[in-house]
């Protein structure tokens, strides 16, 4: 499980744009509000990987995130 934040876009915007590219992530506090405050973050996006996740799917996430950054720049 990898939680992350982009400097250019809020996690909800990231999640919506990933969703439109066929990728589901969770976004927000993840029921861990005190930890978010500790790190000075208002929200993160979170991708989960399973034993069935392929290399291609991970590459697709990386490519999709690049497009999200471009969109909000």
């Amino acid at each position: 499980v990898v939680a992350f934040a982009l400097d250019k876009a809020h996690a909800h915007d990231v999640a919506t744009l990933l969703d439109r590219q066929g990728i589901a992530v969770r976004a927000g506090h993840h029921c861990a509000e005190p930890l978010m405050h500790r790190f000075g973050l208002d929200s993160t996006a979170r991708a989960s990987f399973g034993i069935y996740t392929t290399h291609e799917e991970i590459d697709a996430l990386a490519t999709a995130l690049t497009r999200v950054r471009e969109f909000f720049t």
Partner: protein, 156 residues
């Protein structure tokens, strides 16, 4: 449909622009009422500051927000469109706006709201994304809480 065409319905240029550079995104030096809007589920927070005239009409609205492009743009367009409106009028605009972002269609309304609803129309694309409707309505809940004299609003 390409990725860009697809998401442009939601992220229209007006929204990206106001999300990036909100015109009213600041605390007012002097204000009469204030309230916080909080959505702990997703982490959106907005605090609104309102200056009123002696009749209770809105002179100016400013806000501080930590949230997504939709919530910041919505707060900014709200600040713009409620200027000069009294409490009942502001509530009427919100009710119509809420219908617009839920259904994508503008319900019947008073002609006096026309110009404001035209400004708010770019947010109608939100109706395709049910999880994002509350991003667009949070600042309005905070504003109405401020006008009602309650200090906090939540739009979980």
């Amino acid at each position: 449909m390409t990725f860009d065409d697809d998401v442009r319905d939601l992220y229209q240029e007006v929204i990206l622009d106001h999300g990036r550079k909100p015109r009213h995104g600041h605390r007012l030096a002097a204000y009469d009422v204030t309230a916080k809007g909080d959505n702990p589920m997703c982490g959106d927070r907005v605090e609104v500051f309102v200056k009123l005239d002696p009749d209770g009409a809105i002179v100016e609205t400013g806000f501080e927000a930590r949230g997504c492009a939709i919530s910041v743009a919505s707060a900014d367009l709200m600040a713009e469109t409620v200027q000069g409106r009294g409490k009942a009028d502001t509530r009427a605009l919100f009710e119509t706006f809420r219908e617009l972002v839920r259904t994508g269609k503008c319900p019947e309304h008073d002609a006096a709201l026309d110009t404001s609803l035209e400004r708010l129309e770019p947010l109608a694309g939100v109706h395709e994304y049910p999880s994002r409707v509350k991003c667009a309505t949070l600042p309005w809940h905070a504003l109405l809480a401020a006008l009602d004299g309650t200090r906090e609003a939540s739009s979980e």
